[in-house]
């Protein structure tokens, strides 16, 4: 199991360490730094690094490496998943209050995920159905792959030990699900109903995957014309974003990013709306579009100046898209009802739907 843990920040300082068994010298991290150098980018640092006496398993989040030192065989996912949970906990803890004055108290409850004696004056339970579309769209605009992944995040502030059930109008849509441990699996198996005693506060009740046979409606399209010419050092760049199959809802929070080839020196572009930035160092173009008005489609047009003398790039850049659509679950999933048992008061209940772009890429 985990022997020690080191936290390493972006500039390569070990700013926190913790040892559970005997103390392991910091110098063990040198192996990690070596690997980091070799990987050039933080993302490419291998999560598992063997050293002569230890194994270093690391996760990278919030620009911090969490490096666990292991001495013997262990399922690597065990450690990695655990580290991620640690980070989640840190985020919860440091995110909400300033470093707590009260250390968290260990507690034992009949229901391990819920403390006893919870009290609220306003009893409320909110559920957010959030769906993400992962898609790869090819040059011609046809979908290479598209799938919908969804989560139901909950914020439950209910007094006592409420026992909730949540049912769907169309549970068959859910192809593959994973639950918070509070969900009674048998009930789901037999009746397709989520029955659970919720943890207190925010938690993820369910993640799901929508069955592949349901065709995914792609709510936006991108028209693009990006061309580099061999002879001149100028290229054309033109993209237009438009809505499609949005069920009458507005597409908002649209953001376009694209990694330009190395040969691109600068871009002179004019957007019809929103703001854009091209970083000549990282060659990253980002265009914050905002809302899409179907009457006046947002576009970004202009010239690309290329490094003189080099040949034109082989590949056109891929376009990454982000967007949000409120009040719509693109898969059509609908919550049927939410009931509470075990407590007498009447809670306030709310359900919200949202569709977002997940990993949404357009190849050009």
């Amino acid at each position: 199991m985990i022997h020690s843990l080191f936290l390493i920040n972006a500039s390569g300082d070990i700013f926190l360490e913790k040892h559970w068994k005997s103390v392991v010298s910091r110098s063990v991290c040198d192996y990690f730094f070596e690997a980091q150098e070799r990987a050039s980018e933080a993302e490419n640092v291998p999560p598992v690094i063997p050293t002569p006496h230890h194994y270093l398993l690391s996760v990278y989040r919030h620009k911090i490496f969490f490096v666990a030192v292991i001495q013997s065989e262990v399922p690597p996912l065990f450690v990695i998943e655990f580290l991620h949970r640690v980070v989640d906990t840190f985020q919860d803890y440091f995110g909400s209050t300033n470093v707590g004055d009260q250390l968290p108290t260990g507690q034992l409850s009949v229901v391990p995920w819920r403390r006893t004696g919870v009290k609220y004056t306003n009893n409320e339970a909110y559920f957010d159905v959030i769906e993400e579309i992962d898609a790869i769209i090819d040059k011609s605009g046809s979908t290479i792959t598209a799938e919908i992944q969804g989560v139901i995040d909950a914020c439950v502030k209910l007094t006592g030990m409420p026992d909730l059930t949540l049912s769907f109008m169309n549970p068959r849509l859910l192809d593959d699900v994973s639950f918070h441990p509070c969900v009674r699996f048998k009930r789901w198996e037999s009746e397709r109903i989520l029955s659970f005693i919720p943890p207190d506060g925010n938690f993820r009740l369910l993640s799901y995957h929508v069955s592949a046979q349901n065709l995914v409606a792609i709510p936006v399209y991108v028209k693009h014309n990006i061309s580099f010419r061999d002879s001149s050092s100028l290229g054309r760049f033109e993209i237009t974003v438009g809505p499609k199959q949005t069920m009458g809802k507005t597409v908002e929070g649209v953001m376009v990013t694209s990694q330009m080839p190395k040969g691109v020196l600068n871009m002179t572009l004019t957007p019809s709306q929103g703001t854009h930035i091209f970083d000549p160092v990282t060659k990253l173009l980002s265009w914050d579009v905002g809302k899409i008005n179907p009457q006046k489609l947002p576009s970004l047009k202009g010239n690309v100046s290329l490094q003189a003398g080099t040949s034109k790039p082989d590949e056109n850049p891929t376009i990454n898209l982000q967007f949000k659509i409120q009040q719509l679950a693109i898969s059509g999933l609908k919550v049927n009802r939410l009931d509470m048992y075990g407590e007498k008061y009447k809670p306030f209940k709310g359900i919200k739907y949202m569709t977002k772009a997940g990993k949404f890429q357009v190849r050009t």
Partner: protein, 1049 residues
């Protein structure tokens, strides 16, 4: 500040000190000041002092001893949290002197009333690991393994894995319990337990993979074996392979965990299925693994590695998810290359063209390392799939003109390997590459080209010497790798074409002789001796040609994951592809399974005290331990043995649910209880459990009898009620026996163990036959509902025959065949267009009259003229390809106003295409056609609800179509629904345990594919209609046709 009298100041000081420790600064000199505060009343200060002690106690042992007595006191604290944390700190301070104290503390804690403290005892064991204490620790582990608390299970198994992973014997008695508790154990514990059980299962059960071998194992008989064992063997020989119920139990109880939110748990289950499940079942894990790919980069990395290994051996598992492995430009390189690896593994004739198109995009990637990897992948596809070798080769040759040098170099290397596998007619490519030599600077690529030219110099006789000339010029500036190949080329040319190249080669050899690298000098000397004939050269030079121009075996382009499969999946060793310290080898399946009875548990012995006061859980548990065939089977038999259980099954289910949730509450609430009441309960408990065991025992026997009778009724369709009742009555005798026994023995709990033995005997002796049959039924890896229908589906006439022949009760037939012949007739030929000859047809739903694939159609021809119509027969047929027709016998003569009904068979090939043919009379012929409603392309199938669900489970995704429909209120009763559905389509009714769900099953006439229809009534008069079938087209048509059937009034 630490000396301050105020707690707040002390707390502040401690916070700073702990902060220093975390930053890696040395705070050891504060030890004396800190340790004083260990007895502080303030719990916050205490905690921080504990943190400090854990870090520095090892360095300042003498001073640390001062604090020990505080911990010893804390170990007796009434608050379980304090007891636990004292134990935790005590075990973490690593002062050798206190080991005996620790040992004592652990022992005590292991029988603490609080499961939380016991859990911490298990944790402490791992920290105390010391060879001298090992034996004692194992004792504690053995004790804790018996613990029934879900809180303890994970931790103690962890301790087991650390301390004595080889003591598999300690697991036997706890195996079933661990399996049953697994779902309720916390996530981390689940991972550890699953990994341990995987190893365990590989030592205890025989392989489910090789059916044929199972038979052989038992062919050698030992003469001294008892009859009973002999019988057991015979059975196994017949059934080739039957999974041990305990093996099945493990698979069944881990399956729900695939739904865990914890990636480690999902991976653990996946590897368990991979290593333990029959090959046909391992596929269920793929979907969950693919889900994990949505997770963080690190999780993806590990999961992809494991998928890569899996996909080499069993492509089929991940083929449906091919697109999930498509690479995104934003993926980190290591993820990209792993995905690419998997895509390459999954490539086959069917998907290769899509894949190659996808690869083309990758080759252009800005990430050149990845582009190079893609080229290698294309090379591998080209060698593995011969159909595309040429396409790939051409594609790669095109890449040779790519601007990026890395891409070109990689292409050259791959082309070289490809050409080697089939050098037959690629002179052109070699020439092309020779031309490239001027532009390519990457040494590996240059070396590859030179090697190619040398190897196949006879195919390019003109170019080769020229290349040698050019390279000889640049020899001194080349990389070592290239130099070696130039020498090589020279040698080969010298041997084949010495006239032109003799001088050149000698020049090169001279250059090589004085090269800086000793490798090159060495090689030069070697080559010179071999090829240049001189008086000193020995026998070897005669063979120079053979040596240099020998046929070389083509290199195999293999996956780098090829050799990883000998490591257990999901382990660190697998990820690193090297043995990690402490890696435990997964043993091979035993040839013969060790005695399974070691896992039997005697109820009386098992410690009951922790399960608290809830009777319900106790009633359930012992039964489960005995009969590993738990939930699923009970559910099933409950629902199928309709009358008995309608209410029973429900309450049972409820019990179970409560049971499972209560259990945790029971176990933890017991901690709060005083020990008096505990011991009071003990007696009761023991009695109760023994009785419960008996009861459930006899219940099970009943169910078995039922199951058997059910089976008979389906297989032979002549269920002799009398027999089954006889059987069950004999069973019930034993049941009443044991019941009375338990009554008499109630007062003495000691007898319970005896009773247990008796029930075991009961099970073994009188019902042996039953048990075997049941086993066959339940543990056969693949259920065979599809295999029976020929017998089960009876034509009405045959049914009638049987009814006359045997004593069978008609009610049974009703359920199994349910033939409802629709009265609806369709017009085949109108009398007006048929010149007085009219014809109607309807579907008689009689299976297999004309052949297995034929749908029977009854045609009624009527003569509306006033003359005889003669010789009515079928003329020219225009059938879509594949369709066949069995004609009716010609009607010689039809009197005026007469009508006659004839039968014909049509094989519609499971499509709703029209069968066109000519209906001829003596003088005329009329074109007619029959288009079958999709409901008539089916034959009803009988199956149990359980089988139905199982089959349905396999037919999800693409194979499922569903719709929500409005149901007219008058249509929502069971009878009406059944009537209407069965009328509309030739479906068999599946008994259903729920009132609002109706299930129907059939197979298609032609291909015998299952067609499963579910009608689930919802609130507000809507219903969900679901159809699961491989024949998706028919499925969706059927769905369309069934919709109006239910919605119309």
């Amino acid at each position: 500040m630490l000396e301050s009298s105020k707690d707040s100041a002390k707390l502040d000081a401690m916070k700073r000190i702990v902060g220093m420790i975390a930053k890696g600064k040395n705070a050891s000199e504060l030890f004396p000041a800190v340790v004083k505060n260990v007895a502080s009343k303030n719990i916050e200060i205490k905690k921080l002092v504990y943190v400090y002690l854990m870090r520095y106690a090892e360095e300042q042992q003498d001073l640390a001893l001062l604090s020990i007595s505080t911990f010893q006191r804390a170990l007796k604290d009434p608050n379980q949290l304090i007891r636990a944390s004292a134990l935790r700190v005590l075990s973490s301070i690593r002062v050798p002197i206190i080991v005996p104290i620790m040992m004592l503390a652990i022992k005590e804690a292991s029988s603490d009333l609080s499961p939380y403290v016991r859990k911490n005892a298990a944790h402490a064991i791992q920290k105390l690991l010391d060879p001298e204490q090992k034996e004692m620790l194992i004792e504690v582990i053995e004790k804790l393994l018996k613990d029934r608390s879900t809180l303890v299970a994970g931790s103690v198994v962890m301790a087991f894995e650390e301390v004595c992973p080889d003591r598999i014997d300690l697991i036997h008695k706890n195996y079933r319990k661990l399996c049953n508790l697994l779902v309720d154990v916390e996530e981390w514990g689940q991972v550890v337990i699953i990994h341990m059980l995987t190893r365990y299962a590989r030592t205890q059960f025989v392989s489910p993979w090789k059916d044929d071998e199972a038979g052989e194992e038992y062919s050698e008989n030992n003469f001294y074996e008892s009859d009973e064992e002999q019988k057991e063997k015979d059975r196994k020989v017949k059934a080739t392979y039957i999974m041990d119920p305990d093996h099945r139990l493990l698979l069944r109880n881990t399956k729900p965990l695939l739904q865990s939110r914890n990636a480690a748990v999902v991976m653990a289950v996946a590897q368990l299925y991979w290593h333990l499940a029959p090959k046909s079942e391992a596929g269920i894990v793929s979907k969950s693994l693919v889900r994990l790919l949505r997770s963080n980069r690190e999780v993806q990395y590990i999961v992809l590695q494991n998928i890569a290994t899996m996909s080499i051996q069993r492509k089929g598992m991940f083929e449906p998810y091919l697109k999930s492995f498509y690479v995104r430009s934003t993926d980190p390189t290591m993820i990209k290359t792993l995905k690419l690896e998997i895509l390459t593994n999954l490539a086959n004739e069917a998907n290769i063209s899509t894949l190659l198109r996808e690869f083309q995009t990758y080759v252009k990637s800005q990430d050149k390392q990845f582009a190079a990897a893609t080229i290698q992948a294309i090379g591998r596809c080209a060698t593995n799939i011969t159909e595309v070798t040429d396409t790939c080769l051409n594609g790669l040759v095109c890449l040779l003109s790519n601007r990026d040098e890395i891409v070109v170099a990689e292409s050259v290397v791959v082309i070289k390997k490809l050409l080697q596998t089939q050098p037959a007619h690629h002179g052109e490519i070699i020439k092309h590459m020779a031309k490239l030599l001027d532009n390519i600077t990457v040494p590996v690529a240059r070396a590859s080209i030179l090697w190619l030219i040398g190897e196949y110099c006879e195919r390019v006789p003109k170019i080769a010497p020229d290349v040698l000339r050019k390279t000889a010029k640049s020899f001194t500036n080349e990389d070592d790798l290239v130099k070696l190949q130039i020498l090589n080329l020279g040698a080969k040319l010298y041997l084949t074409n010495s006239k032109q190249t003799k001088l050149l080669t000698q020049y090169v050899l001279n250059l090589g002789k004085y090269d800086q690298s000793y490798d090159i000098r060495d090689r030069t000397r070697f080559i010179r001796q071999l090829i240049v004939p001189n008086e000193k050269s020995g026998a070897l030079s005669k063979y120079a040609k053979k040596i240099f121009l020998a046929q070389k075996p083509a290199p195999l382009l293999e996956s780098p994951f090829k050799d990883r499969d000998h490591f257990q999946l999901g382990t660190l060793s697998h990820t690193l592809n090297s043995r990690a310290t402490g890696y435990l080898e997964l043993s091979d399946w035993p040839e013969v399974a060790p005695d399974p009875s070691v896992r039997n548990v005697e109820v009386a012995e098992s410690p009951k005290e922790w399960t608290g006061i809830l009777g319900k859980t106790k009633k359930e548990k012992p039964a489960e331990k005995f009969y590993s065939e738990s939930e699923e089977e009970e559910d099933e038999s409950a629902s199928t043995s309709a009358s008995e259980s309608e209410s029973g099954s429900e309450s049972e289910k409820e019990d179970k649910e409560e049971g499972s949730s209560d259990e945790s509450s029971g176990s933890s609430s017991s901690s709060g209880e005083s020990s008096d009441s505990e011991s009071d309960n003990k007696e009761n408990t023991a009695k109760k459990t023994s009785r419960a065991a008996d009861e459930s025992d006899s219940e099970d026997i009943k169910k078995k009898a039922k199951a058997i009778s059910r089976k008979r009724s389906t297989s032979s369709s002549s269920d002799t009620e009398s027999t089954s009742s006889e059987e069950s009555s004999s069973d019930s005798k034993s049941e009443s026996d044991s019941k009375s026994d338990s009554e008499s023995g109630k007062s003495r709990s000691a007898t319970s163990s005896k009773k247990e033995e008796k029930t075991i005997q009961d099970r073994k002796a009188p019902n042996k036959q039953d048990v075997f049959l049941l086993d066959l039924d339940d543990f056969c890896p693949v259920p065979t509902p599809v295999a029976v229908p020929t017998a089960a589906v009876l034509s009405p006439s045959l049914t009638a025959d049987l009814e006359g022949l045997s004593l069978l009760s008609s009610s049974v037939i009703d359920v199994t065949t349910q033939v409802s012949v629709p009265t609806k007739t369709h017009e085949l030929l109108h009398r007006m267009s048929g010149k007085g000859l009219a014809a109607h047809y309807h579907f008689s739903r009689q299976p297999g009259i004309f052949g297995d694939c034929m749908v029977s159609v009854q045609v009624t021809v009527t003569n509306t003229t006033d003359q005889k119509i003669e010789n009515i027969h079928i003329g020219e047929k225009k059938l879509p390809p594949g369709m066949r027709m069995h004609e009716f016998n010609p009607i010689e003569c039809l009197e005026p106003a007469g009508s006659i009904t004839v039968s014909m068979g049509i094989d519609f090939c499971d499509s709703t295409q029209t069968a066109s043919f000519q209906l001829c009379t003596k003088d005329d012929h009329f074109s007619v056609n029959i288009q079958p409603p999709v409901g008539e392309l089916l034959l009803p199938v009988t199956m149990s609800e359980k089988d139905f669900k199982k089959e349905q489970g396999m037919l999800t995704g693409m194979n499922e179509t569903s719709a929500t429909i409005a149901v007219a209120p008058q249509n929502s009763t069971r009878l009406v629904i059944i009537e209407r559905v069965v009328k509309a389509a030739n479906l068999g009714i599946v008994p259903s345990g729920q009132d609002n769900i109706h299930r129907f099953a059939a197979k298609t006439v032609h291909s015998g594919s299952l067609m499963l229809v579910t009608v689930e009534l919802k609130e507000s008069s809507t219903a969900q209609l679901i159809i699961n079938t491989e024949k998706t087209v028919i499925g969706s048509v059927l769905l369309r046709e069934l919709k109006p059937v239910l919605s119309q009034g």
